[in-house]
Symmetry: C2
């Protein structure tokens, strides 16, 4: 019901999703009449097993997470997570308020007993494949032990995606072993001595996109700064390119001739293809779609949710954590 663009994005994404993945049954949670009228416009959803579960209230993007946790028990977010808790659904996808989704997920779904804090994790496009970056904002301050848990959870995501002994690095402001804060130094010690983790050392944020590491671990502040700085630069470059291509007749003509190539590039660099952040450490699958995600991006978040359920990511994380050191 929320996100920057409201429920029509989710419905439109669902329309394409059910066509591609008829093995998944969708439940929409929110204002029944609004959702019903959107679904009625979609032949493929009408033919599908999709159903609606009514929720009267909505957590808005500006709501204080703890306030929402206390007061919005009739919100679509709460009701959807409640259905996940009871096992009526296998995963929950939301484009709503990140902090509220995290707070409600911790309260209703709970983390595994070994996990102190869930982490937000996202796959980033790199030169050759994907790199998992976590935490992206769930935890501002992390202890070395938290970072070790993030490393374990990120390794599981890379492993279920087919990577053998994923290379795990700690984000730092230098790659030399003696660099960084006390927390990073201690985390490095923990990771070096943890046989479950293929720790390779510190990495600078300039190398996030190099493809050298499969998992990059950091506290939520650093991860958030790195992710958003790269998003900001991408927007800046796209704007520069677009302005340059409009500058004069030759450039405009060229941009017309180049349109298939520009479309290829847009496709390859499309952030929609990387939408869908996982809340790792929860006992069930909760996926956060970007607040401003369009239909294609939201569809990708649904794909991520389906994969994580099929690959039993939460159970794999529990197994890895329980496997001792």
């Amino acid at each position: 019901m929320s996100g920057d663009l409201g429920p029509r994005v989710a419905i439109s994404a669902a329309e394409n999703f059910v066509a591609a993945h008829p093995d998944v049954d969708l439940t929409f949670v929110g204002d029944r009449s609004q959702l019903q009228s959107l679904i009625e416009k979609s032949p493929s959803l009408l033919r599908s097993s999709a159903c609606i579960f009514h929720a009267a209230d909505v957590v808005s993007m500006g709501d204080d997470p703890l306030g929402a946790l206390r007061q919005k028990k009739n919100s679509s977010m709460w009701v959807a997570l409640e259905r996940l808790r009871t096992g009526e659904v296998d995963a929950c996808v939301s484009a709503g308020n990140t902090g509220a989704l995290l707070a409600m997920s911790r309260y209703l779904i709970k983390t595994f007993p070994e996990i102190e804090r869930p982490a937000i994790c996202k796959s980033m496009p790199v030169t050759d494949g994907l790199t998992y970056l976590l935490d992206l904002g769930a935890n501002i301050n992390c202890s070395p032990f938290h970072l070790q848990q993030f490393a374990l959870m990120g390794s599981v995501l890379a492993e279920v995606a087919g990577v053998v002994a994923p290379r795990v690095a700690l984000l730092n402001i230098g790659s030399e072993a003696q660099k960084g804060t006390e927390v990073l130094q201690q985390a490095q010690e923990l990771l070096r001595n943890d046989l479950r983790i293929n720790y390779v050392g510190f990495v600078e944020s300039s190398d996030i996109f190099s493809g050298h590491d499969h998992v990059i671990v950091c506290d939520g502040f650093h991860g958030n700064v790195a992710l958003k700085a790269s998003e900001g630069l991408a927007r800046f470059v796209a704007k520069k390119i677009s302005l340059t291509l409009q500058r004069n007749l030759f450039n405009r003509l060229l941009s017309f001739i180049a349109s298939p190539v520009l479309a290829q590039l847009r496709e390859e660099l499309n952030p929609s293809l990387y939408n869908g952040a996982s809340f790792l450490g929860l006992q069930k699958t909760v996926i956060k779609s970007h607040g401003s995600a369009d239909s294609k991006a939201f569809m990708h978040a649904l794909v991520v949710a389906r994969e994580q359920v099929l690959l039993r990511v939460p159970e794999q994380i529990a197994r890895k954590l329980g496997s001792g050191n």
Copy 2:
């Protein structure tokens, strides 16, 4: 003498610099015979007043900063800063070891008495103009008071560049006033109540390049992560574009036709144009060129040094700091 590419980059940059700015006298500090043989290949430098000051040793890129500070008193870096200290030169530009340059600068040049810590500051290209980002790595942990001093120093840079009442923001992981760490909350209070600063609120790193703010203040870890993440993404995008343009005959032909436009774009997005980080808070001008800077980029660092001397940036900072609150 150092940097990733050695002295030939500095000499080649100097060659273009003396042609453009005959008002500046250059002194090269380092191995005399090596520098002499490089200068002899340059007619414009031979005609200029450039001179050489011999230094037998070099701080290498991998040297520990404090070790270099204790042991490398015959290095080109030390000798250059010593000449700056005595007033024989007005500014020092180096592409060498950042940590060593910072440690030696603090020891030899010293900060103003009011300044607890110098900050590394760089102008970033934004949609319309420049934004000054600091600290970029000199200080891993900062107090609210340090961030306030960075805000003052960044404001001075923007002011001498012609901005009236520069808009100052604090980097955070959300733009809402209640977000972030305790340090950021306290820094916000200090900035709100400081009449010397036009504080506008928190900014997320996705908006660094938006051009909305003139000065963005953060601790050195966050600034370093933001700067390098954006550099990493820029490299990733450039590689994707280059691969796409080589993919097939049509694309290769297109890239040939588009070469003037691609050249324009490369020019506008060229990181060389933003090279040259200032060590603010020192009593004299020290400029750090990127270790991998090419000749054009190093030339820009020289331009920054000249501007800051002419605009009397250190003195302006002292004046602003001394002006009370």
